[in-house]
Amino acid sequence: MAGSTLASPSAEAGAPAAAPAATGRDTWRRFRRHRLAVASSVLLGVMVLGVLVGGLVWPVAIDEIDFSAMLQGPSPQHPFGTDDLGQDLLARMIYGGRISLAVGFAAMLISTLVGVAVGALAGMSRGFLDSALMWLTDLFLSLPQLPLLLLVIYLFRDRLKEVFGVEGGVFVMIVAVIGGLRWMPVARLVRAQFLSLREKEFVEAARAQGAGPLHQVTRHILPNAIGPVIVAATIEVSAAIIAESTLSFLGLGFPPDIPTWGRLLFDAKDHLDVAPHWALFPGAAIFLTVLSINFIGDGLRDALDPRRVL
């Protein structure tokens, strides 16, 4: 990512050099050995940078209708082509990408945090609390998602719009719904890890030294359980981006005039035969984001494991 001095905060988002490990330099060295993960970080960094500052470089309005340029393929005027109203697809993707990526990361954060909290609590407590939390997890797993979404949107859309505005309200709702319905696999994973790690001799050794439960969890159990959680979290990002497209596709997500990547795909489906580029670019963007996040997850898992000597 040389030369990206313009917006260093966004560049940082793609390069997870500041991983929370004891020896940052070793972690970074191990991460660098994972070629695909490094390449993916660069790719994701470019995409994040692109959606954040792309509007400055490509200052075209997203809703500028031009019927003379309907369904055009890529050209110097419209690098990604245009849609059926002649709107510039590159500008729309830059705008929509912000929302898609933000939804993906925010939903991942929520589902992972809730999942880790529930799983850790269940894994550490024996007896009733463990059973109760697992019943809750199973309950959530068995909820039919789409009817529930409809219900939630019907009940809360207007109230959230009042508080956060149109876009903000839908964003909060979608993130909460996706995050709140996808924490269960993480919780089960974390609980299983905790159950086995809790009985490991090094945890018992910590207990023998006088460590309380909180110390055991934060210093010994959680760091050793983090590998699978990171992989699960990266899958959550991809799942959330795809879930948002599904919602947009069904008309339950953002208003139709906000071009998230999923919405673009939805709109493109009727014109696939004449304007394949319309579906191709947002599709490729989702695909590349999900792929690179998964590779970064792999790289992170390996980098955070000091046993790995490549």
Binding site: A205, A206, A208, Q209, P223
Partner: protein, 608 residues
């Protein structure tokens, strides 16, 4: 007579990261008809890989075997894969270390053996079943005809190893390769399996290649011995020659480090192992440890009882209880070592953990310096744990893989807020030096250390809080002999300088004899005999103690025990029905401090 198996210049290399790494580098030996040859060496010496190379069981693409392996008149290394498959299980059979995982859990054991008979010897189904019963009889499995229809989980470890041996014998092999077949077994069961292998060898007229790390087992079973080090056979010859006059320095170092039962006769105090230099073969005379025992009791355990409830069924009905520790009482003085010995499931580890309250005992009292630990609230208990620390069995599992060793050693100080971060790390470096490691190693991670070094790190971590009592739970059992000797020497040195009291939990009678002042023998959760080391080892009273001592392999071929037939006793289980009431026990004092449980009718047969 021509040898059955002749190995010449066998070399095996594995490909690791694109480079060939030699593991076995030129090993040659012969095995004559009806002969037992032992391959002995420490972990990483290439002994198991040698056996796998003979069978051509190493991964085909990632390994390279050169040299010659002649089984009678055929070179096994040049055979086609199909011919080799007929050799495996036909002419050469193999028995592995882990009896728990080498049987398929969803098939009956009889079916698994009959399958081999149908495949290799072309028997019909019914003939194969009859033959299976005969094989079970041969390996002395009691009630063979009914047990062939059982699934593997109904068999204990020793019985499973018998099943594996029966399976190996199914096709009347000329050569049996046994790869550490008794390492995972208890000492009395090990003695049974060794006897069984010897007996079967006579009956079947087969040759045996026996791979082991245990010099005691070698002395017990092998006619000739090959000592391996770093993939080379450094010494080979008749077993009694090697034990009497080892020529290679490494053999000498290895033999010096072997704890021999009975070596402590006439010595009053624990004694360091003699340290023999691996290169020169020179040895330093072992010194008796100084007298460290203080008059006052540090730990007083009275009527300690720990039981685990087994629940099952829909509503968690009580199905039974594991009486892991029953009414155990003992004292431990400052600077003293009390050994708890017994076989698996006897409750020795649970006793150690109950004393530290890592497991909550059901009843009894544990007094440390006069204060009852069992009544303390959690916060006070954490405070008291500073005075008693634990060293665990598996040095690979007891260190957090994500924590540098310096951080691991400093951790107890930080948890208990006894030092600032900087002080704690300085102290960690200091402790590393104390256990014979370099202070600069503090930044490394556990996977960079060998087993012995890790156990030193665990000891350093336990010492960080300056405890008075250390519970050492099988702390040297997982280590190689020479490393074991060094770690024990370190523990004795630390006892001398810090006046530590050890509760030394072990199944290894020879090690226990070396390190302990007093010994308590446990059986099914109870102490059956306790007393000064010299009294318990010199004049054992309880039938169980006698059985245990008789079963220990003695690393001296001249004293190879003559046993009376092969017994098939199993270790009894401490699981009892919910309404079980443990019997009242009383102890009689045979000599000062030497107490023996008065035994009931169940021991009469064994005592007679």
């Amino acid at each position: 007579m021509p040898p059955i198996l002749s190995v010449r210049d066998l070399a095996t290399a594995f490909r690791v990261d694109g480079r060939w790494r030699p593991v076995v580098r030129g090993v040659s030996f012969d095995i004559g008809p009806r002969e037992t040859v032992a391959l002995v060496g420490e972990s990483g010496s290439g002994k198991s890989v040698t056996a796998l190379s003979i069978m051509r069981l190493t991964p085909r693409d990632a390994s390279r075997i050169t040299g010659a392996v002649r089984l009678q008149d055929r070179d096994l290394l040049t055979l086609s894969d199909a011919e080799m498959r007929r050799v495996r299980g036909g002419d050469v059979a193999m028995v592995f270390q882990e009896p728990m995982t080498s049987l398929n859990p969803v098939l009956t054991v009889g079916f698994q053996i009959a399958e081999a008979l149908v495949a290799h010897r072309g028997l019909s189904r019914s003939a194969a079943e009859a033959e299976t019963v005969r094989l079970f009889d041969k390996v002395r499995i009691p009630a063979a005809a009914s047990r062939v229809h059982d699934h593997p989980h109904r068999f204990s470890g020793g019985m499973r190893q018998r099943v594996m041996i029966a399976m190996a014998l199914a096709c009347r092999p000329k050569l049996l390769i046994a790869d550490e077949p008794t390492t995972a077994l208890d000492v009395t069961i090990q003695a049974q399996i060794l006897d069984l292998i010897k007996l079967l060898q006579d009956e079947e007229g087969m040759s045996v290649l026996f791979i082991t790390h245990d010099m005691g087992v070698v002395a017990e079973i092998a006619d000739r011995t090959v000592v391996m080090l770093d993939g080379r056979a450094v010494e080979s010859g008749p077993t009694h020659e090697i034990f009497r006059r080892p020529t290679h320095p490494y053999s000498r170092a290895l033999l010096a480090a072997v704890p021999a039962l009975g070596a402590m006769q006439g010595r009053a105090r624990p004694t360091r192992f003699p340290v023999v230099d691996r290169v020169t073969g020179e040895s330093a005379e072992p010194g008796e440890a100084p007298d460290t025992v203080q008059p006052a009791n540090l730990l007083e355990v009275r009527n300690l009882t720990t039981r685990f409830e087994l629940r099952g069924g829909l509503f968690g009905r009580l199905r039974g209880r594991v009486h892991a520790v029953e009414n155990v009482s003992f004292d431990l003085k400052a600077g003293e070592t009390l050994a708890l010995v017994g076989e698996s499931g006897c409750g020795k580890s649970t006793t150690g953990r109950s004393v530290l309250r890592l497991i909550e005992p059901l009843a009894g009292s544990v007094r440390l310096d006069g204060e009852d630990i069992l009544g303390l609230p959690p916060r006070a208990l954490r405070e008291r744990r500073r005075r008693m620390q634990m060293i665990f069995q598996d040095p690979f599992a007891s260190l957090d893989p994500r924590m540098s060793v310096g951080a691991a050693i400093a951790e107890p100080l930080l948890i208990n807020r006894l030092a600032s971060r900087r002080e704690a790390h300085a102290r960690a470096a200091d402790l590393l030096g104390r256990v014979g490691l370099k202070p600069e190693m503090a930044d490394r991670y556990p996977h960079e250390f060998s087993g012995g070094q890790r156990q030193r790190i665990c000891i350093a971590r336990a010492l960080a809080l300056e405890p008075k009592l250390i519970v050492a739970d099988e702390s040297v059992s997982a280590l190689d002999v020479s490393v074991k000797a060094q770690v024990i020497n370190l523990m004795l040195d630390l006892q001398a300088s810090l006046h530590l009291a050890y509760l030394f939990i072990s199944h290894d009678m020879a090690v226990v004899e070396r390190v302990s002042h007093r010994v308590a023998v446990m059986h099914l959760g109870e102490i059956v005999e306790i007393g000064p080391r010299a009294a318990v080892f010199g004049a054992p009273q309880h039938p169980y103690t006698k059985t245990l001592l008789a079963a220990v392999p003695v690393p001296d071929p001249a004293r190879r025990g003559t046993r009376h037939g092969v017994r098939a006793d199993e270790i009894r289980s401490p699981i009892r029905p919910p309404d079980y009431v443990p019997p009242e026990r009383c102890y009689r004092e045979v000599s000062p401090g030497h107490l023996v449980q008065v035994w009931g009718a169940e021991w009469e047969a064994a005592a007679a």
